[in-house]
């Protein structure tokens, strides 16, 4: 990721007001080492946290307004406080599980985070575990991310050797063990209950809720499951306070956020900016759309969030603003597609992903995703019929809201949201209207095809 904007501090013209909190160490030499981390202010929040009652840490995080960065935006402090009260006399085990199974298409913030600054995750994990009285924390990392697993494991070793982990951390009397666990590569294992099953060595499929993990999570014990970015946000909050954190972002979505820009962007990468920054601002920071071909559509938070169009360039990217505009902030994975891209083609590709990753547990998702792919494939290759459009949308609607977990909803989303904005493209495909040439619209050309179709160009 050569163009990754790391450590940038300047507000660049009309670009995003970059706020390097989580990414501030990324560009430092050997940023992943303990020495580098300490030199750049690391492990200073930890003694501060260990010096107060665990409940006060939770109160602080509640006051900061931090919301979960895994996609749903649930208030983090409130999640922690859902655990049954800790009874030191009869301690039932409680666990912190960190969801580092980053798998949402377009999302690429956690792995760079763990590669560049693993100790910030570990420091956050220790503080969080302390806050919830957990003696054990598991970090569940995508199995494919072997480099990341190695780096995290190395960081855990370093932190243990330095006394930040293990027995009597920094003389506080608090003990913690962190295990870095390699997942087996399934999107569903990013779903927190499937993750817990997988972590327990079972087949990764979502569990029936209730009971929720806060009551019966890992090994049926009270468990907090948080995303990497959420946990990494904890040390800065402890260090600088809730008010400081609330000085960034919006009232209901405070703090800073890593926005992952990908697609037809001049400088794709991770851009840390306050919550509520718009895509227009972020694109300005990223050098605009590549080759000047205008934006056609984008996902505000990964492929599972309803797509936005160029009309939405000024929607503030915060949990509530995006929801109000009809989508979800998700993981702020901003996949940007220019006008050369056929929407049905892109949706077909996404659906191939959901078909491949559907866990198979429930009927609508297992059967429906495969069916959507079959229909989309036919439409995209020119064998679709007008009837297929109705079948496609009704099948997608029949998956949405009917499946066991959110994966089914997510799979239906690209279809349903693309029909909202780009139904005409599907109709053109099934009625034989030749799509415009790649980049035709940008170049001001007519709509009569004179060469390779969009589909052909991308196949």
């Amino acid at each position: 990721m050569a163009d990754t904007a790391v450590g940038a501090t300047a507000v660049d013209g009309a670009g995003a007001p970059l706020t390097p909190v989580l990414t501030r160490r990324w560009a430092a030499p050997e940023s992943w080492t303990l020495a580098s981390y300490r030199e750049l202010g690391g492990y200073r929040a930890l003694p501060k946290a260990l010096g107060v009652e665990p409940a006060r840490v939770t109160e602080l995080v509640k006051a900061s307004g931090l919301r979960g960065r895994g996609g749903a935006g649930f208030p983090t402090g409130m999640k922690w406080s859902f655990l049954p009260p800790f009874d030191p006399a009869a301690p039932t085990p409680r666990y912190l599980v960190i969801n580092a199974d980053e798998g949402e298409p377009g999302t690429c913030k956690d792995i760079p985070m763990m590669m560049a600054d693993p100790h910030s995750l570990i420091e956050g994990a220790i503080i969080t575990s302390y806050a919830i009285n957990a003696p054990f924390c598991a970090i569940y990392v995508r199995g494919e991310a072997l480099h990341c697993l190695r780096r995290l494991a190395g960081a855990v070793r370093e932190a243990t050797a330095a006394g930040y982990l293990g027995r009597d951390i920094l003389g506080s009397g608090y003990d913690l063990e962190i295990v870095v666990h390699a997942g087996a590569g399934a999107y569903i294992c990013g779903e927190e209950t499937a993750l817990l099953d997988s972590l327990e060595g079972r087949r990764g499929q979502p569990r029936l809720k209730p009971p929720f993990p806060a009551v019966a999570g890992l090994y049926a014990s009270p468990t907090v499951v948080n995303n990497v970015e959420t946990i990494c946000s904890v040390p800065p909050i402890v260090l600088h306070g809730a008010d400081w954190y609330r000085s960034m972002g919006t009232e209901k979505s405070p703090g800073s956020k890593i926005y992952s820009l990908s697609g037809h962007v001049t400088r794709p990468g991770q851009y840390e900016a306050p919550m509520g920054t718009t895509l227009r601002q972020l694109l300005d920071s990223a050098g605009g759309m590549r080759d000047g071909i205008p934006l056609k559509f984008f996902t505000p938070g990964g492929s599972s969030t309803p797509i936005f169009t160029a009309e939405h360039l000024d929607v503030p990217l915060s949990f509530d603003d995006v929801a109000a505009a009809g989508s979800m902030l998700g993981t702020t994975a901003l996949m940007c597609f220019n006008e050369t891209v056929s929407v049905p083609w892109a949706v077909w590709k996404w659906l191939e992903f959901y078909k491949h990753e559907s866990c198979g547990k429930c009927t609508p998702c297992r059967e429906g995703t495969g069916w959507l792919v079959q229909i989309l494939h036919r439409i995209v290759t020119g064998d679709g019929t007008a009837e297929d459009l109705d079948t496609l949308t009704s099948a997608a609607a029949n998956i949405a809201g009917r499946s066991f977990c959110a994966l089914g909803d997510a799979a239906a989303t690209p279809v349903l949201s693309s029909f909202k904005w780009f139904r005409q493209e599907y109709e053109d495909l099934v009625t034989g209207v030749t799509p415009p040439l790649v980049g035709d619209r940008a170049l001001g050309a007519g709509t009569v095809g004179t060469g390779t179709s969009t589909v052909g160009a991308h196949r």
Binding site: R203, T369, W371, N398, R402
Partner: protein
């Protein structure tokens, strides 16, 4: 539950009383329902007569919510939940408003579209599918499904069928992945041999190739499969369900007495299913009960009477001639030295009664014993006879007997001489259910922890075979100071000692306990000391009933002691003839008396000499008898030695009843009355007439009527009339003075061991557990063998080589063998049986040689 319709308009409003304690009040389709807290919406709806369609839901399995067929609209606090909810996972709540497909277009549409998804890749091959005609998916489709598929693309296909065991075939493209089969196997049976493989649209049920689906309960997965994905090798393509005649029956195999539904067609049984009986088998049965009915149609079925002619040859004869010959011979034998009766343990209650009455009335003797076991009946059976009279006979549900349902609520159960999974599988399932749902603590006294005990999360009280009485005696002693017990074992013993004192604790005693001198006495002592109750679980379906109706040397019908004049008088009044007052001989005693010439004749029912401790001696005795009448369904080793052979009806060919181990009557109807075979009661009744006595057992109904009029006898009076257990035969246990390679044999019959009642069903036999020698890790190490290596067990009659299965925990001075190897009893291989010392050697030096 109350069910209150909305009051019609104009009715004066009345303040309705609140729901009963522990209940909530909700509304389903406008009907107010009071439901117990925690109940699932789908169950509450059932109770007002609304069937919400479902595939994955099963009332005896944990909810999973996978198939999504049961989606309904739910409103709480006046607010609709944003998505339709699965009624099979949604629990009821006070004030909840549920709208099912009957009143909610959203629910109706959700169910319709889900059905469309399920049918998308389904082959729609109902015309050639076994499930066609009784298929929930087919029924749903016909009722609510789309008339045509909107799929324009190729369906998903799989190679079909694939065998998940010799008995169960899987058609993956029919599967709706409801997980009933995998959940049953994991939750109910504890045999997690089938599971989901792959994911998404490639997800499928499958097995690990190294771990075959060797579960005694696998057939249940076929029955609960809501589509035709799982079919049985035995029934596949044999019949259409609507061509079958269904008969409610009781399983004839073990003493659990499962309710079954037997389906027949054209004079033959096509299949058997578990019937729903919450008191006994719930909705399950074992594979033996489900598949082992082909013994009926084996080529060695006896079809007409046989009489030995002057040349000593058995020749077919008319019933008239055969009866006359039998009566003549029996009268002569009776008057010469007497006749013993061995009815076997497979008799129905009324047939057993006919034997019991025939012995007393026609043969004027108490020499009758239903017990057929390969472990010796001790010392004229005095210890066991006393135990049965004091603790078993006359008891039943509501009459002081332990029941399946009480096992489910027991705080602790101690297994004595009893391996439930092999010897009474439904007891095993009930215990497992209690362990899972209520934390029942299961203990077993024995030489090894079995897989069954592991699945019950049970604790082994280790005992070398023969030393069990001492272990039981130790349970009433406090403290840990004890010899030979490790700390863990001592802790388990103390825990059990305490648990047995809590109300509802049960000692579950198998018939094998009788083979250990003093063990039944120790059980009685323990029960008296702790207040724990005793359940006695014999092996065969007819054992318990035979005991109850007096097919026993010391007891008359109703548990009336032979030695009690008042008891005899009651029976004499009913029968109108004197009843002999001398207690009879037990099975071993009868055979010995015949061999020694003290008895002249034998009447033998369904007894296979191979099932006796010394088959050779038994055959010698039968040979020595001057006159033998055999009542059998198939030719056996006795047939060749009998003077008159009378073919009788097997259980499915007659009506009747078994009494299961609980003491519960388990009636059954004739599945195949048209074959016209005679039950033993009828045959003995006619034989009685030839001998100038009347049994009045010409029909099961007549016999049952007489039994009813005779009535019971207070169990306390039976117990009082029997001497308390006296000193029992004692001597050094077999473990005394053993060399390290001599071990005491422990053994029982696995559920599937090639017994004659499983003949003709190779698919079933294919799921039997491998035959192995079980040794402790230390024993294996001492022999220098690893798991799977050949080991030879040598007894006085020969050697037997089998692979070793290293088992822990297990006593180092014990060795386990299945009681049948290659379909033959251990005695035929090594000349000895459980409880005796054998030598164990590494390797296959001696080979599998039979005596």
């Amino acid at each position: 539950m109350t069910q209150v319709a909305t009051p019609p308009a104009g009715t004066p409003e009345q303040e309705p009383p609140g729901p009963p304690p522990g209940h909530v009040r909700l509304t389903i389709d406008g009907v107010q329902v009071d439901a117990p807290k925690g109940e699932l919406v789908i169950r509450a709806a059932e109770r007002i007569g609304t069937a919400i369609p479902r595939f994955c839901d099963h009332p005896l399995l944990d909810p999973v919510g996978a198939c999504r067929q049961c989606l309904v609209e739910v409103e709480m606090g006046g607010r609709k939940m944003p998505k339709p909810q699965a009624a099979c996972t949604q629990t009821v709540a006070d004030g909840m408003v549920v709208n099912t497909q009957l009143s909610s277009p959203v629910a109706e549409q959700a169910q319709r579209s889900n059905l469309e998804f399920l049918l998308l890749n389904h082959p729609l091959d109902c015309p050639i599918c076994d499930k066609g005609g009784e298929c929930p998916l087919q029924n749903q489709t016909l009722a609510n499904g789309p008339s045509a598929s909107r799929l324009r693309d190729p369906k998903r296909v799989f190679t079909k069928p694939i065998p998940v065991s010799t008995q169960i075939l899987l058609d993956r493209e029919r599967c709706v992945l409801c997980q009933r089969c995998t959940r049953f196997s994991a939750q109910i049976a504890g045999d997690r041999f089938i599971d989901l493989l792959e994911r998404g649209s490639a997800q499928q049920i499958g097995i690990n190739r190294t771990e075959p689906f060797q579960s005694y309960f696998s057939g249940n997965t076929i029955q609960i499969c809501p589509v035709g994905a799982l079919t049985s090798a035995a029934y596949r393509f044999r019949a259409r369900p609507f061509d079958l005649v269904s008969t409610p029956t009781t399983c004839e195999h073990c003493a659990s007495g499962c309710s079954l539904r037997t389906d027949s067609r054209a004079g033959g049984i096509t299949r058997r299913l578990a019937a729903d009986d919450p008191q006994v088998n719930e909705e399950w049965n074992c594979d033996k009960g489900r598949f082992a009915f082909t013994y009926l149609r084996q080529g060695d079925r006896l079809t007409q009477p046989l009489v030995r002619n002057a040349d000593g040859m058995l020749r077919p004869a008319s019933w008239t001639d055969a009866m006359a010959a039998a009566a003549r011979g029996l009268l002569q034998a009776r008057d010469a030295g007497g006749v013993g009766v061995l009815p076997g343990g497979r008799v129905s209650v009324t047939d057993a009664y006919a034997y019991a009455k025939f012995a007393r009335v026609a043969l004027r003797s108490n020499d009758i014993d239903f017990r057929v076991r390969d472990t010796p009946v001790l010392d004229n059976g005095a210890e066991e006879a006393g135990f049965l009279a004091r603790r078993v006979v006359g008891r039943g549900p509501g009459r002081g007997g332990v029941t399946h349902q009480e096992l489910e609520h027991a705080p602790a159960v101690l297994l004595v001489g009893f391996e439930p999974e092999d010897e009474s599988p439904i007891v095993f399932l009930r215990l497992r259910k209690a362990v899972r749902s209520r934390g029942l603590a299961v203990f077993a006294v024995g030489a090894l922890a079995t897989r069954g005990l592991e699945k019950l999360d049970g604790t082994l009280l280790p005992a070398t075979p023969g030393t069990e009485p001492a272990v039981l005696a130790g349970l009433t002693r406090e403290g840990t100071a004890d010899t030979g017990l490790g700390e863990a074992a001592a802790a388990a013993r103390n825990r059990l000692g305490a648990a047995l004192r809590s109300a509802g604790a049960v000692l579950l005693v198998g018939e094998r306990a009788a083979a250990v001198p003093g063990l039944l006495t120790a059980v009685e002592t323990l029960a008296d000391a702790t207040g724990a109750r005793i359940g006695w679980v014999p092996r065969r379906a007819g054992d318990r009933g035979a005991l109850e109706v007096g097919a026993f040397p010391t007891l008359l019908p109703g548990g009336r002691p032979v030695t009690d004049a008042a008891a005899r008088a009651e029976v004499e009044a009913a029968w109108g003839v004197p009843v002999p007052e001398t207690p009879g001989r037990d099975t071993g005693g009868i055979l010995a008396a015949v061999r020694d010439g003290d008895l002249s004749g034998l009447v033998i029912g369904g007894v296979d000499p191979a099932d006796l401790p010394d088959p050779g001696a038994a055959l010698t005795a039968v040979t020595a008898a001057s006159f033998v009448v055999s009542l059998e369904i198939r030719a056996s080793a006795v047939t060749e030695l009998a003077d008159v052979v009378l073919p009788v009806a097997a259980a499915p060919e007659k009506p009747g009843a078994f009494m299961n181990w609980e003491g519960r009557m388990r009636p059954f109807a004739a599945v195949l009355p048209e074959v016209g075979r005679l039950d033993e009661g009828r045959v003995l009744d006619t034989l009685g007439v030839e001998m100038d006595v009347d049994l009045y057992t010409q029909t099961p109904a007549a016999a049952a009527g007489e039994l009813g009029r005779l009535g019971g006898w207070p169990a306390e009076r039976t117990a009082a009339a029997i001497d308390p257990a006296g000193p029992v035969r004692s001597g050094p246990p077999e473990s005394h003075g053993l060399t390290p390679h001599d071990k005491v044999l422990t053994s029982w019959r696995p559920l599937l061991d090639g017994g004659r009642m499983t003949d003709g069903e190779p698919a079933l036999a294919g799921t039997a557990r491998p035959e192995v020698v079980r040794l402790s890790a230390a024993s294996a190490q001492a022999l220098g063998v690893v798991d799977g290596a050949p080991v030879t067990v040598r007894g006085p009659g020969g050697g037997l080589t089998l692979p070793v299965a290293v088992t822990e925990p297990m006593r180092t001075d014990a060795v386990w063998l299945p009681a049948r190897v290659g379909g033959r009893p251990l005695s035929a291989w090594i000349g000895t049986s459980a409880g005796h010392a054998v030598r164990v050697m590494a390797g296959a030096g001696i080979g599998r040689e039979a005596r």
